[in-house]
């Protein structure tokens, strides 16, 4: 009865075992929860818009225009979804090992800056340099998370704190490097009238942006999907993923079984950082409307790190589920950039997208709490 389901899939969904009926019930439970919470968020948003003197209908229409309807917009949405997905994948890896990495924003920013620095420094032939920037960006983000890993495993500093605080440190470090020409600042005369901006990547140092029916997006879209499949496979089918999950679920059993918390934990945290760094480097080399002009600027990370973290949460730590979730979040982002044109105040659109994000998070939180309670009840009942 159970051979169709794989052993490993059951990890995130403790109800996988008794076959189709339970699974179906669970699916409808999920759908109902999502429908309810999204509906509630929409009603609240509509009330909010009306209460502040606006009209909700054009707002919805603008959201759709901005995310998919207008020419070129769905390409833009996908281009935004790609780094979100990459960040989310790294987050999934960290949290499978039981670690709470919430510093993706900083890891992404630092990764992009390091990638840019070496990209300009090496300046090799085009395609090779692009790959180098991506790799070095990932390494930069990984090392930045490695600081948190070092603090945790040598000095016992909780990674929740260190990763979060390192976001600020990283932000300041990059801002500093954008003030000095020997670091990232573009030479006089090549930075226009701006004084904290790096040079642009040379045209052959940029990722190709194929065009589909008037929608263009960088190659990172494909790369991120491939990465999602790889991560899903690694976590569920490899011995490495098995041991990582063991560490996350029961560190003492892992310790006895030869999964060193220091080694696997540090690796998971640094991989999380590396994915964020890769996302940063991909934003740099992929360019486009969403992420500027193939150059480092202050605020380059543009909340992609934070949103990627949310994507991982909403996707319930499942790499493949993160793909659609990333697209939805990207759509919210690209869509809400159009809402301003309806005359609704910018702050209101911020609140609306906040409400929608909450609506996406609530079902996962509800289900997580309920599964925990069930698991605990089962565990205590059956000792």
């Amino acid at each position: 009865m159970t051979d169709a389901t794989t052993a490993v899939d059951a990890v995130g969904s403790p109800d996988a075992q008794p076959g189709r009926t339970r699974r179906g019930a669970r699916l409808s439970e999920w759908s109902a929860l999502y429908a309810m919470s999204i509906f509630a968020a929409l009603v609240l948003s509509a009330i909010l818009v009306e209460a502040t003197g606006g009209d909700w209908r054009p707002v919805v229409s603008a959201l759709l225009d901005g995310s998919v309807r207008r020419p070129g917009r769905w390409g833009e949405t996908l281009a935004t979804a790609a780094p979100l997905l990459v960040v989310a994948l790294g987050t999934v890896i960290s949290s499978k090992a039981g670690l709470v990495n919430i510093g993706q924003e900083g890891q992404l920013y630092v990764g992009a800056a390091v990638g840019a620095y070496f990209g300009f420094l090496i300046g090799g032939p085009g395609p090779i340099n692009v790959v180098l920037i991506l790799i070095i960006g990932a390494a930069g983000g990984g090392l930045w998370a490695g600081v948190a890993a070092g603090l945790r495993y040598w000095r016992g500093v909780p990674e929740v704190l260190s990763t979060l605080l390192l976001v600020t440190v990283g932000g300041q470090a990059v801002a500093y490097s954008l003030r000095w020409e020997w670091l990232l600042l573009a030479p006089e005369g090549r930075r226009g009238n701006r004084n904290q901006v790096s040079e642009q990547l040379a045209t052959d140092n940029r990722l190709p942006r194929p065009d589909f029916f008037g929608n263009e997006f960088p190659l990172t879209v494909f790369i991120s999907v491939v990465l999602a499949v790889i991560v899903a496979f690694a976590l569920s089918r490899t011995v490495w993923g098995f041991r990582l999950r063991m560490l996350g679920r029961n560190p003492r059993a892992a310790q006895r079984s030869g999964v060193s918390e220091t080694r696997y934990g540090a690796m998971a945290l640094m991989l999380g950082g590396a994915f964020a760094g890769l996302a940063g480097a991909a934003m740099l080399t992929g360019g486009g409307f969403a992420f500027g002009n193939y150059q480092m600027v202050p605020g380059f990370s543009a909340n992609i790190g934070w949103t990627g973290l949310l994507v991982a949460l909403v996707a319930y730590e499942k790499p493949l589920a993160a793909i659609p979730v990333a697209v939805v979040f990207a759509g919210l982002r690209t869509g809400s950039s159009f809402v301003g044109s309806t005359g609704v105040e910018g702050r209101i659109t911020d609140v609306i997208s906040g409400l929608l994000v909450l609506a996406l998070l609530i079902p996962a939180a509800v289900m997580l709490l309920r599964d925990r309670r069930r698991a605990r009840a089962a565990a205590t009942e059956r000792v």
């Binding site: 009865m1 159970t2 490993v8 990890v11 011995v239 098995f242 059993a253 006895r256 060193s260 698991a375």
Partner: protein, 537 residues
């Protein structure tokens, strides 16, 4: 606090006060099929210390929990100072003047002593008043402590002092001490009993001392009640009691004269002259190899609270023998299991398997050296409840289901099906999550995994705890079969019957040391009971 002194004859063993401070009559409590307390009568008199003695699971704690309102009795009455009361929660108990010093600390490490003492109070904090009150209590009972110290920085003995102050601050007229010395050094225990005497004599409080240590019950109490399997089996004045009688009543076996003499012989045992008393062949399977398969040499380990858990513990084991580790829980057995699971690092001493020293506390080292473990608490380190049955079966060693770093689902399933059949594991199939499997079958999963790895040494800690009769038999049979096939089995158990049934050789642990060692033929309940109570030291 004033208590009416109605003149009426008290019941129970003590008649020193006309109305007992506490009179429990016909108290009964069941948990499912387990009878924790069965028609228990107990009277506590003011101005006296009452020892409540019994093995683990004898019902002592449950009885006391009913007195402080943590557990409700199924039947029976509780009278405080002659008045029948219904104690349905700890607040009621507290209002009636009943306080308890719990065995496990309920302190917050990060807070100062005075802050901990006020925990649970309502209303505004008054640091200075609290400090003064602590000072008063300290002076009155000789429990000296600095109210501004962080609790996390205190030794176990001092922490207990905080617990006691916390309890005495409310000025209870009836005080229960639950196994108060389990975390204390002998000197600290001595101090504690001194202040206890003071509490009782000077202030006419009624005190209960819950314990399984014969020594301390004999020396520190006035009256003794002995419980076994939920019943009161004996009540007497401490002056009328001696260690062998108490031991016998506690473990509940008739003992012959011969074994009584043997018991006295064992009295002189302590671990310095263990070598002279070394084993004894009779029905022991004698080691065929000269080299012991497991050798623990003067191991010293501390638990998370910094208390010495293993104290110069040395043990040698040979292939094919079952060594039973007897002892009251909390005397270092858990630390022994943890060290052999790579969960605890030794402060000094070594562990060697087949002559090769295995680093302690290094993840996976013990398992790799060939030590299988059925842990005391399978949820702690034995299983990952959120993973599947199949995954749990290869938790320690994935190689049998993996090729070049990839998990081969087909092989994993084949192996799982094989184990499910071989060990009769009843579960919803290989992909059933571990938490959906019943306790007995979870234990079978652990057993199947550990045995399938063909260990040289198998540590079985409380392997039958919580299992039903059939499952116990099955487990015993498996352990015997393992030993017969050459595995050295270290059976850690607080169930003497289990130890006597299975072991070839028995060691007794007390306070992290081996206080006695004997062959199966030499062992009997009374000897073991005495040693377990630390009477021999």
């Amino acid at each position: 606090m004033s208590h009416s002194e109605l003149g009426d004859a008290g019941t129970g063993v003590t008649n020193s006060s006309p109305v007992p401070a506490v009179q429990l009559s016909g108290i009964a409590k069941r948990f499912g099929a387990v009878v924790a307390c069965d028609n228990v009568d107990l009277a506590l008199a003011r101005g006296r210390i009452h020892g409540l003695l019994g093995e683990n699971g004898a019902g002592k704690s449950t009885l006391m929990k009913m007195l402080i309102g943590l557990v409700l009795p199924d039947a029976g009455t509780i009278a405080i100072d002659g008045k029948t009361e219904s104690i349905h929660d700890p607040l009621t108990a507290s209002a009636l003047g009943i306080g308890m010093v719990h065995q496990h600390f309920s302190l917050v490490d990060a807070l100062a002593v005075w802050e901990n003492v006020t925990l649970g109070d309502a209303g505004r904090l008054d640091p200075n008043a609290t400090r003064n009150r602590i000072g008063e209590i300290s002076e009155q009972y000789g429990l000296v402590i600095d109210p501004d110290k962080r609790v996390g920085d205190l030794t176990a003995g001092l922490r207990q002092r905080v617990e006691i102050i916390k309890c005495l601050r409310r000025d209870p007229s009836i005080v229960i001490f639950d196994e108060p010395t389990s975390v204390l050094t002998p000197e600290e225990s001595e101090q504690l009993f001194e202040s206890l005497r003071h509490v009782v004599a000077a202030e006419n409080r009624a005190v209960v001392l819950v314990s399984h240590k014969l020594d301390e019950v004999l020396h520190a109490t006035d009256d003794i009640t002995i419980m076994r399997q939920g019943r009161v089996v004996d009540q007497r004045y401490s002056t009328d009691a001696d260690a062998p009688t108490l031991a016998r009543a506690m473990v509940g076996r008739e003992v012959s004269l011969r074994s009584e003499r043997a018991a006295l012989g064992i009295h002189s045992l302590d671990d310095t002259d263990l070598d002279d008393v070394e084993p004894v062949e009779p029905d022991t399977v004698l080691p065929a190899t000269a080299q012991p398969v497991l050798r623990i040499d003067r191991a010293v380990a501390h638990d998370a609270d910094g208390v010495v858990a293993l104290d110069e513990f040395s043990l040698e084991m040979h292939s094919g023998e079952i060594v039973g580790v007897a002892g009251v829980e909390g005397n270092g057995q858990r630390a022994l299991g943890d060290v052999l699971s790579s969960l605890l690092t030794l402060s000094s001493g070594t562990v060697a398997v087949d002559g090769a020293v295995v680093p302690t506390g290094k993840s996976g080292a013990m398992a790799e050296a060939g030590i299988g473990v059925i842990p005391e608490d399978r949820h702690d380190s034995g299983l990952v409840l959120d993973m599947t049955v199949a995954e749990n079966l290869v938790l320690v060693d994935q190689s049998r289901a993996a090729t070049r770093g990839l998990i081969d689902q087909r092989r994993l399933h084949a192996f799982t099906e094989e184990m499910i059949e071989q060990f009769n594991i009843s579960c919803g199939g290989p992909t059933a999550p571990m938490w959906s499997v019943s306790g007995g079958n979870q234990q079978r999963v652990v057993l199947a995994r550990e045995l399938s790895q063909e260990p040289k040494i198998l540590v079985a800690a409380q392997p039958t705890r919580g299992l039903d009769v059939g499952a116990i038999e099955y487990m015993s049979h498996r352990l015997e079969t393992a030993a017969a096939s050459g595995v050295a089995v270290l059976l850690i158990s607080s169930e003497l019957e289990e130890i006597l049934e299975l072991s070839h050789r028995i060691i007794v642990m007390h306070s992290g040391r081996i206080v006695g060692e004997m062959s199966r033929a030499e062992a009997n309940f009374e000897t073991l009971g005495l040693l377990m109570g630390g009477a021999a030291a």
